[in-house]
Amino acid sequence: MGYILDSSTSQRRIIHIDCDCFFASVEQLDDPSLTNHPLAVGGASARSVLTTANYPARAFGVRSAMPTWQAKQKCPQLIIKPVRMQRYQEVSKQVMQLLKDHCDQFEQVSIDEAYLDVSHYYQAYGSATDLALWLQSLVAREVGITVSAGVSQNKLLAKLASDWRKPAGVTTISPAKQLEFLQNLPVKKFPGVGPKTQTRLERKGITLCQDVWQTSIESLTFLGNFATRLKQMSIGEDDRPVQTERRRKSVGVEKTLPQNLEDQDSITEVVLGLLPQARQRLAGRPFNHLSVKLKFDDFQVTTATSQCSHFDQEIIAELCRIAWQRQRRPVRLIGLQCQLTQGPIQLPLSW
């Protein structure tokens, strides 16, 4: 599909694509017989929580992050599938590649979400909404899962829009309709308004966006810097760009061990074994901190970090010692991370 670039308008057009109950959709894709049954993905044991629930399950009141036992109470016939992260990543890659192929101004923000900046596409070939509809059908056809899309002039509104009609919806918020859309929107829909902030706002009588309009910024000072941001969001202002290439802050390699390790020397040996892979990933980029990450058999993770701009074996050995000493438990995963830097690098003495 060919688009002609149009730089004549200053108004931005952003599409937010959000996969519908992604993990559950992938399970349904791999086993279509599950499709119309209440289905959730997560741990099956009493102490587990659900990561995702499909729409039939949501009809019973099942939600993501709900403890499994509670979900089972609400919906006894709920089918619970274990998490298969590798498979989800595979499907995610297919979806993201399709989107990237059709829009180079592309920013993936999580495994199942992405922003596209289509401001420069010539409108005569179709509105941004047409493009969103077309991408939606493309993903359904090529990958086999449904996505929802939001279309508006910035990332904030596009995201709020994609959430509006789920699943498989496309919602457009035009500049003219923007305040009307926001008016009755609960403030908890805004990024940064979690349960805590929500309660504090409620105490001030703020539940809807229009309540924020009525409140002066001075009365919001208890929110700190977030007050200004909330005020801006309440009128739909957001100038964050779609970041085409997210600047990587660190490069890491890790290895899940075939057997747990229980001594410092073998841990160090595994880290040293990761070096060629780390060097390859770095591709010569300078770094200024080095971290050793250990995951113990109880799934606790610890990281020991040192300033360091080269793979110093002595430093690596000390980091392994420090991290290992913290728990002294069998280790199931070992990782090495390098924090990238733009600044100059102090070269080390080599002894």
Binding site: A304, E314, P344, I345, Q346, P348, L349, W351
Partner: protein, 369 residues
């Protein structure tokens, strides 16, 4: 227990030992100093279990023997704030230590002396002793201390290497990016070289204790401790249990690009240029060509400094960058009028005093911009 002492004598001894006494400690007795009267001698002891400091005062007035501990910081503060010419008398009354001076009276809480950690016995496993004048010891420590690492994960770098060999004491310190070593002649009974690492804290306390005087001190080294004894004070520190890097390997041999510069002029040039360096990285460029050293600095605000000074240099042009602080530290430690930089192909440089190159060697690694 009872003794009387002049304020001056007490304060100078007390300040020696109070450096390691913490105001609050997990072990309450470590916040105290130990006072001990034996014959006509008052001994004061402070310790943090890593470093122990002992000070001694000759008593002139009649005294009653005994030992007790009192809160260290409070004792120092009281003694210091009394008039310069005051006489101070201390007497144990019940479980209190009462301090009297003219019309002032203080009674201090005490803890029994037997709760105070005992001094390390140095007689066993003595590895060697070396004797030298205080100012020489002070000199080799001051010449290298700034290169010690600060809380590096390689814990053995957070200290100073003392190496005794053939009537020579050498100190070495490195943080992995630069290295300093200094030598001084000393009388020793050591036949094969002895190397020990003194922890950073011990180095700091010791250099505070040593006066730049001609008075001699003896350094005793055992398996786990170092002790420096001057008669007036005794310093004892635990040693760092670790392997110091082979420092000889990082001193480049055979660099031929020698640059001789006036030390004070270069210091002034760097002080000015450093104002416009990036505060985080502190890099400055050295462009050396045809008897001229050009120093360039710039910062994230795009401000720039350029300095030029005459030097003695006729080799191939060099364009290298260093952390300006590292070079300034060296120029502050060297004493001669001129310094010589010896650069090798990798731009690592050795800096020495032009007139006394054997006294100290400084290695500074470059930065890659």
């Amino acid at each position: 227990m009872k003794f009387t002492v002049s304020r001056d004598a007490l304060v100078s001894a007390l300040q020696l030992v109070a450096g390691v006494v913490e105001r609050r400690s997990t072990m309450p007795v470590l916040s105290n100093v130990l006072l001990k009267v034996e014959g006509q001698q008052l001994t004061l002891v402070g310790t943090d279990l890593e470093v122990e400091l002992v000070g001694r005062v000759k008593l002139i007035e009649p005294a009653i023997e005994g030992a007790i501990t009192v809160p260290g910081k409070k004792f120092v503060d009281i003694a210091k704030s009394l008039p310069d010419d005051a006489m101070i008398s201390m007497m144990k009354e019940g479980d209190r230590m009462v301090l009297r001076s003219d019309r002032s009276r203080f009674n201090l809480a005490t803890l029994p002396a037997d709760e105070f950690p005992a001094s390390q016995d140095m007689e066993n496993d003595l590895r060697g002793a070396v004797t030298l004048v205080q100012k020489d010891l002070r000199q080799v420590m001051d010449a290298t201390a700034f290169s010690m690492a600060v809380s590096d994960v390689r814990y053995y770098l957070n200290g100073m290497l003392f190496e005794v060999h053939n009537d020579r004491l050498r100190t070495v310190a490195t943080d992995g990016h630069r290295l300093s070593t200094a030598d001084v002649m000393a009388r020793s009974d050591v036949e094969s070289p002895v190397q020990v690492i003194v922890p950073r804290k011990g180095v700091m306390e010791l250099s505070r204790l040593i006066a730049p005087s001609e008075q001699e001190v003896t350094v005793h080294i055992t398996q786990n401790h170092i002790r420096v004894d001057s008669g007036d004070f005794t310093f004892t520190s635990k040693l760092v249990d670790g392997r110091f890097p082979d420092y000889q390997r990082v001193i480049p041999q055979g660099g031929e690009n020698e640059m001789v510069a006036d030390r004070q002029t270069l210091r002034a040039v760097l002080t000015r240029a450093s104002i416009l360096t990036n505060e985080k990285f502190r890099s400055v460029r050295f462009i050396i060509e045809d008897n001229n050293l050009q120093i360039l600095a710039n910062n994230p605000e795009q401000e720039e400094a350029e300095e030029n000074m005459a030097v003695d240099y006729q080799n191939a042009p060099m364009d290298v960058a260093y952390n300006v602080g590292y070079i300034q530290d060296v120029l502050g430690a060297v004493e001669g009028e001129q310094v010589v930089f010896t650069l090798d192909a990798n731009a690592s440089t050795i800096i020495r005093d032009f007139d006394a190159p054997e006294r100290a060697t400084y290695v500074v690694m470059p930065m890659r911009l």
